[in-house]
């Protein structure tokens, strides 16, 4: 019962809240979607914390995503001992990097007084969950080795079953508590995204790479309004 609640109910609730919540927040509270950078108040400590954490976590999330999307190629790749070794070690290294990053960020939040004024309760929740998530990930990687391989064979089918609306928890329920915990807190995390500043990763400005250099916005069509004889759009002022 508890298993189906945590491994079926929670994931679906989280995904729904994430999808609906982020869309609502973006369209109705779009103003509040920002990175809330605190670099302006403290810059030097942020350099190590933010750069390390972000570079680590981006690689790890991409790794999880690739494993989820292309499990077959990962299984083939990790069946070669050398590749398994390389992937496992580098994943662990990036895990350590983001762990150091999040620890530095937490220390910075606590010790720099100015930051207390811009820290909300949800920020603290995010810090706590991120810390748990990265730490449990590291512990899983350490105690239940060769995760890159068994993730693709054992966990991905469970995740896939969730997304294909045919939840099947027969494999994951037999897994160690640590792994279950990592998965459950990941879903909890997903559901919290619309209520935190984590929204900022959804608006990461990829458009910048292909937009024009300068941006000029015309609030009305001048040519249209000059030439117009119509009553509404582009009404022609008398002194024009």
């Amino acid at each position: 019962m508890i298993n189906s609640f945590l491994l079926i109910g929670l994931p679906y609730a989280a995904i729904l809240i994430f999808l609906i919540g982020s869309i609502l927040r973006y369209y109705y509270y779009g103003y509040s979607v920002t990175s809330h950078s605190s670099q302006f108040l403290e810059s030097n400590k942020l350099f190590w914390g933010s750069r390390l954490f972000h570079s680590g976590i981006v690689v790890l999330l991409t790794g999880h995503l690739i494993g989820f999307l292309l499990p077959k190629s990962i299984i083939i790749l990790t069946s070669m001992p050398l590749w398994l070794m390389v992937i496992e070690v580098s994943a662990f290294a990036f895990g350590i990097i983001s762990f150091i990053g999040i620890v530095l960020l937490i220390i910075r939040r606590i010790t720099v007084k100015r930051l207390h004024r811009v820290t909300s309760t949800m920020d603290l929740v995010v810090y706590f969950l991120l810390f748990i998530q990265v730490l449990s990930g590291l512990l899983v990687a350490y105690f239940h080795r060769w995760g890159t391989s068994w993730y693709a064979t054992a966990l991905v089918p469970y995740l896939k079953s969730i997304f294909t609306l045919t939840p099947d928890i027969s494999v994951i329920t037999t897994m160690p508590l640590l792994i279950k915990g990592h998965a459950i807190s990941a879903f909890a995390f997903l559901g919290l995204i619309p209520f935190t500043r984590l929204m900022h990763f959804l608006v990461y400005p990829v458009n910048y790479l292909r937009r024009r250099v300068q941006l000029v916005i015309w609030n009305r069509d001048l040519r249209e309004s000059r030439a117009s004889r119509k009553m509404r759009e582009g009404i022609k002022p008398r002194n024009n």
């Binding site: 990175s35 400005p205 609030n219 002194n239």
Partner: protein, 496 residues
């Protein structure tokens, strides 16, 4: 030709008395809020000095503006792919300590202090942490402090001036300084717009005002770094960047911006310039010694039939063309050529021009006597106390001849008026100065008139936004029927 209109400005530095009334007017209207206390969209600096934020002109530190990169123009702060990494931590961004930590005073203590042997005092309290702080700097901390080691001597514009000249500038009783009021330049080639990753910063087509959409801003802070004038500020409470909006709600109702309206020295002028947007790319990328001339080329003569025809074709209202013809900025910048942009070498094509101060031409102290006579017509300009090169570094991308020409013109106007009012100047001297500067008595009178007599309507020629269409600039009028005012549709308080 793609003719657009730009609201442009001229500041006459000779008339600036450094009273900060402009800054206060702006502060009271726009930045008297939490998170914005440290911002001075308009500020006044003492030059030579390091300014606000300190060393803002030093692009080695802050990496603002554009650089020529072969045939192309490139943002100095990494644009495109490298900029995307800098979002996580931007090493070139000024932090609060580069501006100053805003503070207030613990006034309550004056009333509530227990009885004691000492008079209670109101201590300084940080507006960020609420704790007592020792104030180490402020937005006008360098006021009148030219000559002090901390400020004037660290001015980056002194870099190519000989140690001897520098020393002579700072000698007691010979010290020179002038004020430099600064605000957003509403550039034609704004680097803040080009740097914004989310596309929140934009130039408004109708009047060229550069704005930041608070809805779209995601606080990536690249505009703060990219602006070489450091006139985009990060609001640490709302997590958004903000900047001078040229009081556009006032402009749309035909009023001058608050800083300009309140200026007691009446140093500020505002008017329309028509320009050819097709030329921006080419002219912003020209060799450094041509920058000033090229920028003047971009502005078009609003009296020319062809320009008027093209402007009309582009939808520019007749009322705007009329304003362009009466524009005081056009006269200062194009007709008389006595106003120059600040730091043209940043290549943003700023729309704010300065009439350089006559200050170095003033007399010197010798043996306790203030000496201001000279046998030579331009004597005082050629061997002035403040090296002309210093002004050139500020206003003409290092070209000292440009500054000399302007100063000579300003001097000619004074000779001419002296002749008219007191008549103790040699006719030949007036003729010579007219011949050399290319001015005539009529032009000199016009400069004199606009400089010292001009009333509100002459100093601020605002192109009508057509109030009936002003809201239409933002939204469809039908949606707004029965409503009044403008503003944030949602509170700015942090929700999550």
């Amino acid at each position: 030709m793609d003719i657009r209109s730009q609201t442009a400005m001229v500041f006459h530095l000779d008339k600036c008395i450094g009273c900060h009334t402009c800054s206060i007017a702006c502060k009271n209207i726009w930045t008297d809020r939490k998170g914005a206390e440290y911002m001075w969209w308009n500020n006044v600096e003492t030059k030579p000095g390091t300014g606000y934020p300190s060393h803002w002109e030093n692009q080695q530190i802050y990496k603002g503006g554009w650089v020529k990169h072969g045939q192309r123009l490139k943002l100095r702060v990494a644009g495109n792919p490298t900029g995307m990494i800098k979002l996580f931590h931007n090493p070139d961004m000024p932090v609060m300590d580069d501006y100053y930590e805003p503070w207030t005073y613990d006034y309550d203590h004056l009333f509530e202090a227990p009885q004691g042997s000492d008079q209670p005092t109101a201590r300084t309290i940080s507006l960020v942490t609420g704790e007592p702080i020792d104030v180490k700097g402020g937005p006008n901390w360098d006021d009148d402090l030219s000559g002090t080691p901390d400020y004037a001597r660290n001015d980056i514009n002194l870099n190519n001036i000989s140690a001897e000249d520098q020393e002579s500038m700072f000698q007691l009783e010979r010290m020179t300084m002038h004020y430099l009021p600064r605000m957003c330049n509403h550039c034609l080639n704004p680097s803040c717009v080009a740097a914004c990753p989310s596309g929140a910063v934009y130039k408004r087509g109708e009047d060229g005002v550069v704005l930041i959409s608070q809805e779209k801003c995601r606080g990536w802070r690249l505009c703060v770094t990219a602006c070489p004038y450091k006139k985009s500020y990060y609001n640490w409470t709302s997590g958004k960047s903000e900047k001078c909006l040229l009081c556009y709600p006032r402009l749309e109702t035909g009023q001058a911006p608050a800083c300009m309206h309140s200026c007691v020295g009446r140093i500020r002028y505002l008017g329309v310039l028509l320009y050819d947007a097709d030329k921006i790319k080419e002219y912003a990328n020209c060799p450094e010694d041509e920058l000033i001339d090229r920028q003047l080329d971009i502005y078009l003569n609003p009296f020319s039939e062809e320009v008027i025809r093209e402007a009309q074709k582009n939808g520019i209202a007749d009322s705007t063309i009329d304003a362009a013809q009466k524009s005081p900025v056009y006269k200062f910048v194009k007709e008389w050529k006595i106003a120059l942009p600040l730091h043209a070498e940043f290549r943003t094509l700023p729309s704010l021009f300065y009439v350089p101060p006559m200050l170095p031409v003033m007399g010197t102290m010798t043996n306790g006597v203030y000496e201001s006579t000279t046998g030579n017509l331009w004597g005082k300009i050629e061997d002035s106390r403040l090296p002309v090169q210093y002004l050139a570094n500020l206003f003409s991308a290092g070209n000292a001849d440009k500054i000399r020409n302007v100063l000579k013109k300003l001097m000619t106007v004074r000779y001419h008026r002296r002749k008219v009012t007191v008549d103790d100047i040699d006719d030949r001297m007036i003729r010579d100065s007219f011949a050399e500067t290319g001015l005539t008595a009529d032009i000199a009178d016009a400069i004199y008139r606009l400089t010292s007599l001009a009333k509100y309507d002459e100093r601020f020629v605002i192109a009508p936004a057509h109030r009936e269409e002003a809201i239409e600039m933002i939204e469809s009028t039908d949606d707004r029927k029965g409503n009044t005012g403008f503003g944030e549709k949602m509170g700015t308080r942090r929700v999550f």
